[in-house]
């Protein structure tokens, strides 16, 4: 059946990191009059889940996560105008802003987390490295983020995570966002000390925790 084949092509385009295939399948989906949201949920997103699982088993690596994300975006560019035209809206698991805190330029771990979050359906805004506390807060407000994620790879940059939480409190915004912290020297004890909502030791755990927290399965304030 053609519908099944197109959805399969969308899924496989992600797994095979094939942008051309993704674009072709997305165009075909529209020309067949199929629901573009179905293409995302039952095609592209399924592929993203497979890639995320492969990364967690170390069967693929960061470059493949990035290419999968680029492939996903290429298909979305085709599908999005059709979704708008039909007056529909993409469902997202949640919105995340994340970055490495002020004074810290470590990048790769945070980038991997951003990509894994995308594989699980989050809309992710990667703020980069050496991110000022006001940038975390302002971007969280601008994007109406469910989650603020902060990475710190140095003991001397961990206090910057607390700075962001303190600023959220000062601005009366603390209850609007789930705050997750992570990075090599960060611990569950530290998360509790600074009143973060969650800590995860690995990117895989962080994604799982984020899924549970935005769906209300996990209570903020717990940690792995």
């Amino acid at each position: 059946m053609i519908t099944t084949r197109i959805l399969e092509d969308l899924k496989n385009s992600i797994v095979e990191l094939d942008e051309k295939k993704a674009v072709k399948a997305a165009r075909e989906l529209i020309s067949q009059g199929m629901d573009p949201l179905q293409g995302i949920e039952k095609g592209l997103s399924m592929g993203m889940v497979i890639i995320g699982d492969k990364f967690n088993r170390m069967e693929c690596y960061l470059p493949e996560l990035i290419r999968a994300s680029n492939t996903f975006n290429a298909a979305i560019k085709i599908l999005e105008p059709e979704i708008i035209k039909q007056g529909k809206q993409r469902t997202r698991r949640g919105v995340v802003v994340l970055g490495t805190v002020k004074g810290d330029i470590h990048r790769i771990g945070k980038d991997i987390l951003a990509m894994l979050m995308k594989t699980r359906g989050f809309e992710v805004y990667n703020l980069g490295e050496d991110v000022a506390m006001s940038t975390f807060v302002n971007k969280a407000v601008e994007y109406n983020a469910d989650i603020i994620g902060m990475s710190s790879l140095l003991t001397t940059t961990m206090p910057a995570q607390k700075d962001v939480i303190d600023l959220l409190k000062e601005k009366g915004l603390r209850d609007r966002h789930i705050v997750m912290v992570g990075g090599g020297p960060v611990s569950a004890e530290w998360a509790r000390e600074i009143s973060a909502d969650a800590y995860a030791e690995t990117a895989e755990e962080a994604v799982q925790m984020a899924v549970e927290m935005v769906s209300g399965e996990k209570v903020a304030g717990s940690s792995s």
Partner: protein
């Protein structure tokens, strides 16, 4: 070899490229290309391969990778490139016998070969892990001098607080911590009876160029080692070039630090191995090093003792040591913490693989070097003893030992034991381990002897 100013000129005038483009369009495809071209294939059944041809192919792949990729300067968004002729000239003219230390602790660092008779240099201590306050910092540094007879140089901890205040990156507290670390380290090594021991990770407490240079004015010597780290993968910020400019003018030693990440842009173990070789060249020509300190690390587990990282370490160490006279250290990070069986097995495995493959050692990061106060002098002591015991060991012998050790701990990476804090397994006044830790250490050493590590 081309001069440092020429390197800076190229940082200013090299090809412009965004950081994302460098990562995904320059580095990643070239790594994948050379891994395929030189037929480099990870073999999980042999974490310490004994294949000279594979080692030499990894070296050629790393050379081609660095020739075509170069080093990225994020401040100028430009790529610093070197021709193959320049790289070969740098290899030929690279330092081969830097002298570190003072007085009777002064010693020449020489490059080793796989299965070498030459003793590995034991650069041991904390591996830059954080200690909570100045008192513990002084205590553990003194213990390194008195409890580590095989130490050729010391790797100091990072001080997490000064005068009860948490150190923050880029703040005056970081400058104060760097100064305090230098003063206390020199005094502690003197109190421990080895005032001439070089500190070779100067200055762990300094993250910024400002703090590193300021701290050095309070007791560092040109015969110490300035640890200056590249950013993964193949990037050097101006702050690092500032430090290199300072150390070069001082006549000091740059200990050029690199850490290719398994799971990141390098990809898997094959990519990590060739990137480690590329870094070796970068340490000579771009970073102006007297030595390379490298620690290929596992993204997911945050340690260096997994099977795939062990293979990458072994193969790249063989590649480098067979083809370069520029000395290098392999730094090991364990997943488990102090006073645990797993930690001691991990140490024995990592050090055996490194030494048999031609490396000198830095040890190290205990409990991933991420938990405050979770390290003692006992772990580097075992590391140095294993390092000396692994001299003359063939790679085949090492391979069999490492395989048996891996079987004992690799099932525990998802939740490794954190172990005890320094004060919980160490007498901080007498500078000796507690009885439980001594008993564990003796038992594990007996097991290691039975496996073939002859102390």
């Amino acid at each position: 070899m081309i001069g440092f100013l020429e390197v800076i000129d190229r940082a200013m005038a090299g090809r412009h490229c965004s950081e994302t483009e460098f990562d995904m369009e320059v580095v990643v495809p070239k790594i994948q290309e050379v891994v395929a071209k030189y037929m480099i294939k990870y073999d999980p059944d042999n974490p310490v391969p004994a294949d000279d041809d594979l080692a030499d192919r990894v070296f050629q792949a790393g050379l081609e990778l660095y020739r075509d990729v170069g080093t990225y300067c994020p401040d100028t968004e430009r790529i610093i490139r070197f021709s193959e002729e320049e790289l070969r000239e740098a290899l030929a003219e690279a330092p081969s016998a830097p002298v570190f230390g003072e007085g009777k602790d002064a010693k020449t660092l020489v490059a080793r070969k796989p299965e070498s008779n030459a003793l590995p240099w034991c650069f041991i201590g904390a591996g830059g892990a954080a200690v909570s306050n100045e008192e513990l910092y002084a205590s553990i540094m003194e213990a390194y001098a008195s409890f580590l007879p095989l130490a050729d140089s010391i790797t100091a901890p990072t001080i997490a607080s000064v005068n009860g205040r948490t150190v923050r990156a880029g703040s005056p507290l970081e400058v104060m911590a760097a100064i305090r670390a230098t003063v206390l380290a020199r005094e502690a090594l003197q109190r421990g009876g080895r005032p001439g021991l070089p500190i070779m990770n100067c200055i762990a407490s300094a993250g910024s160029d400002t703090a590193k240079i300021a701290g050095s004015q309070f007791g560092l010597r040109p015969s110490d080692g300035w640890l200056i780290g590249a950013t993964a993968e193949l990037k050097l910020e101006f702050q690092r070039f500032n430090e290199i400019a300072f150390v070069t003018a001082l006549g000091g030693h740059v200990n050029a630090e690199t850490a290719p990440i398994l799971g990141g842009y390098c990809g898997g173990p094959e990519g990590v191995a060739v990137t480690n070789v590329a870094y070796h060249l970068s340490c000579i020509i771009a970073m102006r090093g007297s030595s390379q300190l490298t620690f290929p690390i596992h993204f997911k587990y945050g340690c260096t003792t997994t099977r795939d990282v062990t293979w990458a370490v072994s193969v790249s160490s063989q590649a480098i040591s067979r083809n370069s006279h520029f000395p290098f250290f392999i730094l090991s990070y364990t997943a488990a913490g102090p006073m645990t069986e797993m930690c001691l097995y991990e140490i024995a495995s990592a050090i055996t693989a490194s030494v048999a493959s031609g490396a000198s050692i830095e040890f190290g990061g205990v409990a991933k070097a991420t938990r405050v106060d979770h390290f003692t002098p006992m772990e580097p002591r075992l590391a140095s003893e294993v390092a000396h015991a692994a001299v003359r060991m063939t790679r085949k012998e090492a391979n069999e030992i490492v395989k048996k050790l891996l079987q004992r701990y690799e099932g525990n990476f998802d939740s490794p034991p954190v172990g005890k804090k320094y004060e919980e397994c160490w007498d901080i006044h007498r500078k000796t381990p507690n009885e439980d830790y001594v008993n564990l250490y003796k038992r594990v050493k007996t097991e290691l002897s039975e496996l073939g590590i002859q102390f």
